[in-house]
């Protein structure tokens, strides 16, 4: 039974094939056999043209679909590329910065002058990093430099053929004929040219420098606020733990003395002695607190006089150079300068091993300059973590928009150079 069924099926499909063949081919043969033109054949032609038109219309629709598809595909590909491209923008900008940085270092090695940077920080999340990368005017400055460098970078290549020629010509001209060398110095000129152009192109644009300045001011302002807060807490603590506690203790002793007054005059007298000692200590501490806020001697004697007094009490032989005549700097500037000197002299006396130091106080066009130098063993800590107090001083100076440079190589000398801007 199965074999017959299989055969039957085969026959059936064959049959169907034949049937289809005959139905599709028959009209074509009929077309070829079409006789001479007549009214009847005209109708046929029109009908065929109509059919062909329908065919073409379908083809056009299909073509439209294909166009649409390919367009969509291209858009998708372009979109994907843009997305990937956008994702790599921050990385690319960082790379550009690295290359520009390498060129800056390279130029600095030649000229010995730093080319400043004023980049915006590129934060972690893509959205922000993208914004920072695109907004940073330095990005465009760097790209401009890169484009230009594409051209003038060839200067380095120019130097190569100059060498053999230069050796030959200058060898004769300068070496033998004792004339001024002509060709080899040209290589130096080329390097100078490269450095000069790079310096001009790599300098951050004014807008970026302005942004950098704003950032700097925001930082120092935050520092000033923090320093002010720390100062207030310190004063509160000093008053609370020192002066106030001593006064309470003193009052307590007087109270006890009053109680003992009649029964035990000797004990009463002893208590009164204690109370007086505490009154004196309270006064001493109060003086310390006041001095920490604003040294009264600054008010009395001016900066140079106050620094002379500091020097006299420092235990070192200190030469103080400065001029007290003329207008005085603002109180905050004077106080900062005073504390710089106080801290520097304390450190010098405590750690440097020096017995001599020098303080220079000078008015400059833009403000006040204080220089403290000792002939000690150097190696002063700048971080201020180990209670060196320099950190506090640094904050105080930054709050006034000043700068501080500390140079303390091992073996000495230690030099602290502070500039505090103010108007005269």
């Amino acid at each position: 039974m199965p074999p017959t069924a299989g055969r039957n099926e085969g026959a059936h499909t064959q049959m169907r094939g034949v049937v289809r063949y005959t139905t599709t081919v028959a009209p074509a043969r009929a077309r070829k056999r079409a006789g001479p033109p007549s009214l009847c054949s005209m109708r046929k032609t029109v009908r065929q043209a109509g059919r062909a038109t329908a065919h073409l219309a379908r083809a056009a629709a299909l073509a439209l679909g294909t166009y649409l598809f390919i367009t969509m595909l291209l858009i998708a590909v372009a979109g994907a590329m843009v997305v990937i491209g956008i994702g790599t923008v921050p990385e690319t900008v960082l790379l550009v910065r690295k290359i520009a940085g390498a060129k800056r270092r390279h130029v600095r090695e030649w000229t010995g002058r730093e080319i400043p940077e004023a980049y915006l920080a590129i934060p972690g999340p893509l959205r922000e990093s993208l914004r920072a990368a695109v907004r940073d005017p330095c990005t465009y400055a760097d790209l401009r430099w890169m484009l230009a460098y594409y051209g003038y970078g060839v200067l380095a290549v120019l130097a190569m053929p100059l060498w053999p020629l230069g050796l030959l010509v200058d060898g004769v001209w300068c070496g033998l004929l004792r004339r001024r060398a002509m060709l080899l110095p040209l290589i130096v000129r080329l390097a100078d040219l490269d450095a000069a152009w790079s310096t001009a192109l790599l300098k951050p644009p004014p807008r970026a420098r302005l942004a950098e300045r704003v950032r700097e001011l925001a930082d120092t302002r935050a520092g000033a606020v923090a320093a002010h807060g720390a100062e207030l807490r310190r004063i509160e603590r000093d008053l609370h733990d020192g002066v106030q506690a001593r006064l309470v203790s003193m009052s307590m002793r007087i109270g006890l003395a009053k109680r003992a007054y009649e029964k035990d005059p000797v004990a009463g007298r002893k208590l009164l002695d204690d109370a007086q000692a505490q009154a004196e200590e309270a006064l001493t501490e109060l003086r310390h607190v006041v001095r920490g806020i604003h040294p009264p001697i600054l008010t009395d004697r001016g900066l140079v006089g106050a620094v002379r007094a500091l020097a006299a009490g420092s235990g070192l032989t200190v030469v103080v150079a400065g001029d007290d005549a003329g207008p005085r700097a603002p109180a905050a500037v004077e106080a900062a300068a005073y504390f710089v000197v106080a801290e520097a002299l304390t450190n010098a006396a405590k750690h440097s091993g020096a017995d001599r130091a020098e303080v220079r106080i000078a008015r400059t066009d833009i403000g006040l300059r204080v220089l403290v130098r000792d002939e000690g063993r150097g190696g002063a800590e700048d971080l201020g973590t180990s209670g060196s107090g320099l950190l506090g001083i640094r904050r105080r100076i930054a709050a006034l928009d000043g700068t501080m440079a500390l140079s303390s190589p091992a073996g000495g000398p230690t030099m602290i150079d502070v500039e505090l801007p103010c108007a005269w």
């Binding site: 309470v248 009052s251 007087i254 109270g255």
Partner: protein, 214 residues
């Protein structure tokens, strides 16, 4: 009386020790930092504790927190809190668990030795001792109130009463008879619309509650 002291400042600690022993009290333990206070109180269960508010390690309100914690463990433990400045919020926290056996004084008051010792006794006996500054602040904080209807004398009586003094002390402080003190108190309670109450600390609670809430 057996006393526990908590004070980090050596000068004041030594002074308090001198003062308390000279008055015949026994100092059973001395705590010098915040974390030491509660164990000392739980171990010795003193008749009264004298605690500084601000102590190491944080130099914030360690003494106050220890006092509250100790009173949660030992209900009614008499606690006299000393501070270099008074803070209304601290007074409210201390009195939150009842005014019985609570003292809150400025350290300055210790100098008035007799008054300080009297306040200590009062607190140990379950009374109240509040610093005049706390009361003054409470009274001046309020503007609108029936307090304005009080005569100056009645106001003085109210202040002394709120500080935790009894009629005898009020009478001797103001140099008047106890009978007139009694009369003034009656007037104050009537004007403030408080239920009359004669027993010491219930009276203080009523007054303080009034001052704190209205």
């Amino acid at each position: 009386m057996r006393v526990v002291i908590a004070e980090d400042n050596a000068l004041l600690r030594e002074g308090l020790l001198l003062l308390l022993t000279s008055a015949g009290h026994e100092v059973v333990a001395v705590a010098t930092s915040g974390p030491e206070v509660l164990p000392a109180l739980l171990e010795h269960r003193p008749d009264v504790a004298v605690l500084d508010v601000r102590m190491p390690p944080g130099f914030r309100d360690e003494g106050l927190l220890a006092a509250l914690a100790a009173r949660a463990e030992i209900p009614g433990l008499p606690v006299l809190v000393l501070s270099q400045y008074v803070e209304q919020a601290y007074a409210a926290e201390l009195l939150g668990g009842g005014a019985s056996g609570i003292g809150y004084l400025l350290k300055d008051r210790v100098g008035r030795v007799d008054e300080f010792l009297e306040a200590l006794d009062r607190v140990a006996a379950g009374g109240t001792a509040l610093d005049p500054e706390v009361i003054t602040e409470l009274l001046t904080r309020r503007r609108d109130s029936p307090l304005d209807a009080l005569t100056p004398r009645e106001r003085q009586v109210l202040e002394l009463m709120a500080e935790g003094h009894d009629n005898t002390t009020i009478a001797s402080t103001l140099v008047i008879t106890e009978r007139s003190v009694h009369k003034h108190i009656g007037n104050v309670f009537a004007k403030l619309d408080l239920p009359p109450s004669d027993s010491g600390h219930r009276r203080v609670v009523a007054v303080l509650t009034y001052l704190n809430n209205t």
